[in-house]
Homo-oligomer: 369 residues x 2
């Protein structure tokens, strides 16, 4: 069935109609056995999606709230941390850390690429007291996948914990939290989990938990101690966005029924299809290590990237994402994860082709006038 | 029309069916003119409900997140603040302040009563450097209304700002932010605003804004500077819970169409009706200053308060609230605000009467056996 409003954006992604409907049922109270049963179920199923036996905490808030939680619960002012930066969201780790007087050592790489492993290896040797390494699975701003498995291999030999922003990457790109030895995984609801925005998640290893009691950054709403005490009662410390939790149950049912391996393969197939269609049309990819969540495409010379996005959205019914920050106008981004089909991708590419043609014709006719 | 699942709880409250349906429409992207138009409209309409010309900031998170925002954006570690405490939510202000090394001077009063004005007047004189006074409109845990108009009159003569937790009170109990000279008003979505939980709000006066640049408590997700920069572009700093924002538009339309004066009067009528029905049945009220949002009732001798709540919920289809913390088993609470009718209240009281009879009979038969 064709989607009324096709979102090919790296969050929010389209929400399945039955999930929207389950969230529209009459509201009930969250301090009840009914809710605790629901929350216990989703908290268990989340572990399967995060590929961990460790607890996964649910917060009401956007992904950035959970990123902040992943800083303040493990660090103290004055601590040293290492940040892997090659885009807007890597940079956000540093911004949050600095806000709390944490010394953030940036290992940066050009947008579209990843931080070389040897740089991290050297930094870990030079900074043996680094409390944590903050990285990203899929850097949404550039559509770039970091090899978090290889990164984790370096970090797990040290005292540092490895914290991964998997907000847009989880479910789209393979991530094996326990198997690879990742300590903290952050996610949001409006990406691979196919929900509206409003929930965010934090999975926490035992190595990471050891840092919590001595972490001196102040926190209340994001306190893991409070979240943990509540989770032990199948509850949240503060009123949850409960319609989203209802939707989450159904989404997790769907993902686990299909099987994560299959979801990853299917998403990889959609990503390949998108990239090859893009390249067949003479367009070039921005990222050197493309993620299965989102493909960043260089805006062709002579084309107004912002106009491309707005025409597709307002006239063709397909929302793609432009570039963010310094990438504005230079790239556009097509997401291919979550509730999206081959037909959706085909429609997206068709509308892209049509729009590029129109923009080229206009630019030629303007040049010739 | 009878409600399938009648919630007479002080949040979440019942959500109107058309609001549930509007939130179930296909999702769209928030970094678009379509969203900015929506968000501009709700941000304007929120001012009318908060009775202010000042900006109202929307956060994705529960009410407690906005409470934390109302501490960290105005205070620095080491600052002195005054907290008005006569219940669980007054106490929460102190807990948050202390987490940030702020010296919280508690002015406490027994549960069910309010802090005498002369105590506040004295404290303000004795602590001229107090940066803020933290109070509550309706103390949800006891169903008690604070006279925030009179409190504001004392505070506005001083340098301190007055911050009011109106999470459950707003829309139910009259609050005139600008007219009464209140500096900061905090609210949540799942109370008088008749939405599911997930959004919270902060209205901020110019006097309060003057404290923001020098407030040294660390903050990222709750930063008012970031929220303000975004609001000036009719946007939020971080991805909003956009289905709830869609619902918010419709709810605000409803409230403003009815007129706040009328909503307040109607709610007061429901509160009076509830209280008189309760008293006619020989039950006694817990609060000395009852709020129009929620009525706290003493559990009669010989009755198991927790059982009362669970039987009403599981067998009669009416959810009321028990007591929280030290009030557990001692009171129960019936809310009468938001999307609730006279018929709903009647049904609630009827089911309460029935349940009390059953519990009495059982307790008599047990006593006689």
């Amino acid at each position: 069935m064709a989607k009324e409003n096709l979102l090919l954006t790296p969050g929010p992604t389209c929400v399945p109609p039955d999930v929207l409907q389950v969230m529209a049922q009459p509201i009930f109270h969250h301090r009840t056995p009914q809710y605790r049963k629901l929350f216990e179920k989703v908290s268990t199923d989340l572990k399967a999606v995060f590929r961990t036996a460790q607890p996964v905490y649910t917060f009401t808030g956007s992904g950035t709230l959970a990123m902040e939680a992943a800083v303040v619960n493990f660090c103290s002012p004055g601590d040293e941390v290492i940040v892997l930066e090659a885009g807007k969201f890597g940079e956000r780790w540093r911004s949050i850390a600095e806000r709390y007087q944490i010394k953030a050592l940036s290992l940066s790489a050009p947008y579209g690429s990843v931080v070389p492993l040897e740089n991290l290896e050297r930094a870990l040797k030079e900074h043996p007291k680094a409390k944590a390494v903050y990285g990203t699975l899929c850097e949404t701003s550039t559509g770039t996948l970091f090899d978090v498995e290889a990164i984790a291999r370096l970090i797990r030999k040290t005292e540092a914990i490895f914290v991964v922003d998997a907000i847009s990457g989880l479910v789209a790109d393979r991530l094996e939290m326990d198997l690879w030895g990742i300590d903290v995984v952050v996610c949001g609801s409006q990406k691979g989990l196919m929900l509206p925005p409003g929930l965010s998640f934090l999975a926490v290893s035992q190595k990471a938990w050891k840092l919590v009691p001595s972490a001196k950054c102040p926190r209340f709403y994001t306190s893991l101690q409070q979240a943990d005490a509540a989770l032990k009662q199948s509850d949240t410390a503060f009123t949850p966005a409960l319609t989203l939790v209802l939707g989450l149950k159904l989404v997790l049912d769907k993902l686990l029924k299909e099987g994560l391996e299959h979801v990853w393969q299917r998403t990889e197939g959609l990503a390949r299809k998108t990239r090859s269609s893009i390249q067949k049309r003479g367009l070039t990819l921005f990222s050197q290590h493309p993620s299965n969540a989102v493909t960043a495409v260089n805006v062709p010379p002579g084309i107004d990237g912002k106009k491309l996005v707005s025409i597709m959205r307002d006239e063709k019914g397909v929302t793609i994402a432009g570039g963010q920050g310094e990438m504005t106008g230079k790239i556009f981004r097509i997401a291919h994860f979550g509730f999206v089909s081959e037909a959706d991708i085909e429609k997206g590419i068709e509308m892209l082709t049509e729009t590029l043609e129109e923009l080229k014709t206009n630019s030629v006719s303007r040049a010739g006038s």
